[in-house]
């Protein structure tokens, strides 16, 4: 990794660290409790008492954006963890199955990966329940994480050094241990970051389309959706939540080294 890319990665993870702190301190950072209506005049433009303005119901957009960011980031973290376990870990193990079984598994997951993750998430939400949208987003992002890890693990298990190790009696479990160590060291963080970016987009889109969270829980996608009617007359109602969402995705992509990755 070159120096410039390393700087971007460090910047991305530092930013995500700050987001995590903001999530933990959201109760303190927000001036008003979540969903507090009529704390100011409706659709008040950004001003000193309300830096991000107010929305149609007189809610403080800054406080709501902080809560929305907190909810979106938490759900994205849960979904990324699911994508990591159901995708990357399965890919790592799947690549070590007997050749025909591995090929079958690869073919099956590649078929799922051919479906756009957003549509897959919609299908999974429809088959389960609205409350499981984080699980649905995680599972929808998993096939791409699986394929990426599978290819890498397959390449390593077929590499010349693995053949040499086997020819000198290094057991399969020792080789697995070796690969796991380096996979953890070299690929875990980028995989998490890529999954985080992907699921943040899926979750927000689900909410925007009305398949995600319902009030009083308002994530960034739902906030943007709620601001649709007022967007052209009061831009701040949608612009600030959208910027917060962009920031979250950008930071995750930076942390992944600006890798396209599992873009839904």
């Amino acid at each position: 990794m070159n120096t410039w890319r390393r700087v971007l990665v460090v910047a991305g993870w530092s930013g995500l660290g700050l987001v995590a702190v903001a999530v933990m301190l959201s109760e303190f950072l927000a001036r008003w409790p979540a969903g507090s209506e009529r704390v100011g005049p409706p659709l008040l433009a950004p001003s000193a008492p309300f830096p991000f303005g107010t929305d149609l119901l007189g809610r403080d957009v800054l406080s709501e954006t902080i809560y929305g960011m907190s909810l979106s980031a938490t759900q994205a973290a849960e979904a990324a963890l699911i994508a990591l376990v159901a995708g990357a870990l399965m890919g790592f193990i799947g690549a070590r199955l007997p050749r025909y079984l591995a090929a079958l598994l690869h073919w099956a997951v590649a078929s799922f990966a051919a479906i756009p993750p957003l549509l897959l998430a919609l299908l999974l939400v429809a088959l389960s329940s609205r409350g499981l949208c984080a699980v649905a987003a995680g599972l929808a992002a998993a096939p791409l994480a699986f394929l990426r890890t599978f290819e890498r693990a397959r390449r390593e298990s077929l590499a010349g050094h693995a053949a040499h190790a086997r020819a000198t009696g290094i057991s399969g479990s020792a080789l697995l241990n070796r690969d796991l160590t380096y996979e953890f060291r070299d690929a875990l963080l980028p995989t998490i970051a890529r999954a985080l970016a992907a699921v943040a987009i899926i979750l927000s889109t689900l909410s925007f389309l009305g398949f995600g969270d319902t009030p009083p829980h308002r994530d960034l996608g739902l906030m943007i959706a709620a601001a649709r009617s007022s967007y052209f007359t009061a831009w701040w109602t949608a612009a600030f939540p959208a910027l917060a969402l962009m920031l979250l995705i950008l930071l995750a992509r930076l942390a992944a080294g600006l890798d396209e990755g599992e873009r839904p």
Binding site: A167, T168, G169, A174
Partner: protein
Amino acid sequence: MSEPRVLLELKDLRVTRGGKVELEPFSLLLHAGETVVLLGEAGSGKDAVLRTLGGFFERDEEAVGRLRVGDGEFQPVARRTKPALRTAYLPSATGNALDPRMSAAEQLSRVLARKLSCPKPAALEELRGALARFDAAPSLETIQAPVARLEPAAVAFGLLAAAAAATPELLLCDHPMADLSPLAANRVTRALLEEQTRQGFAIVYCAREPHPVVRLMARTIVLRRGQVVEEGSAAHLIGGQTHPYTKSIFKALPADLARPPRAASRGEPLLQVQNLMLDAAHRRRDAIGFELRRGAAMGLVGEPGSGRRRLLDAVLGLERRPGRVVFDAVDLNLLSETMALRLRRRVAFVTSRDGALDPRMSLWDTVDEPLRAHLNLSRELASDYRDNALKRVGLASHDGRQAVSSLSPFDRRRLQIARAIVAAPLLVVVDEPLRALDAPAQSTIRDLLGEFRVESQAGFLVLTSDFSVAAALCDDALVFDKGRLVERGPIATLLAAPREAATKALVEAATLKPAA
């Protein structure tokens, strides 16, 4: 007799790269039809001379100096200037000059067509004609195959044919024989010299080992860290070198091969191979049988594709073949895969294959792994073994946390020996141990393997196409050709009186004579 025509003259060439001096002021007078060898390790500055003459500088490279072509005026050397000469480039056959997935003939004819400004079919015919002129060269149809499927010698002939078909005035040779077997290198060098006699082009030949100096018998300039340390005719340099660096390079030349037979070690039988068939199509009389005792070393000598690697795979139980292989008193064909794996713990490898070590692992982990995987040693004891092994191969001063990917080929080869040392093997498989190394590194590796052999009392199987390597490390040898074992015996006997044509050719190639 008239003085040969001056082809080009370089004066006070100085090359820097990223602010670092690559080549101190360097001058070269080259006559038409002359050959000059630039000899030195990686980073010696020889490649900078080649790039200047070819006009293909690296991105951050700056060159100053003057150049004249023929009787013309001196012109300043600049980044984008290229001598007004028909120049051809002959790279290494095992480098990345050609895409391994694509047909060699296809790629070469495309380059040639551009060079000659002719249609591709015409370039293909030129290539065919050039190949037909060389003895032992493959046909055009053979090199239609993807590069990865061809033997390095076939690729080298293809590259030479493409260069020769361009009818150059100057041929820039960038380590073209570096990773070829001695036999292949001899054949390609002979073709190169014949073509030079026919066309009269001059050659600037970069080499990292002294073997081309002997084959070409040409004026040689020895470079080290951008400076000329010695210069003279081949005969003069081979006869005796004055600079210690030149001495260290020429030490890599094979010593006198016709040495008296060594007293072979007579330990317990370690490896017994009986009636092993390498090919299902072989008849019973082609079955292979031999015995390797503890402390003894057996050379498996032959060109790539001659069958020696198939024998090794069968011996290690990596491929099941008809016949009997007894390793450490256990018949490998009777063992389950798990038991065979346990037995292979006593096998160590030292190979020229770059991918033999995991590039992600650190130096320490690489040496530690056999100890951790096979023995239940305390951390202190394991690190003692590791440190001793690293010290023995001269890697103790390296940072142990450094990744293998950051090591030079020489350091990786030494690391393999350190890993082999800690594994306390019964059998050490050494596969082309000197390939792709600079001359001083070759001497060091040869010495390290020799010491390891003496101290370990393990059996050694040495796969090589170079009889001089076999002579340095082994007592006996099996000679392979076209998938068959053709001759066997003590090395000294094979060197003194080879019976088979294949053995004769291998011995002749290893004794290094001028190719002309």
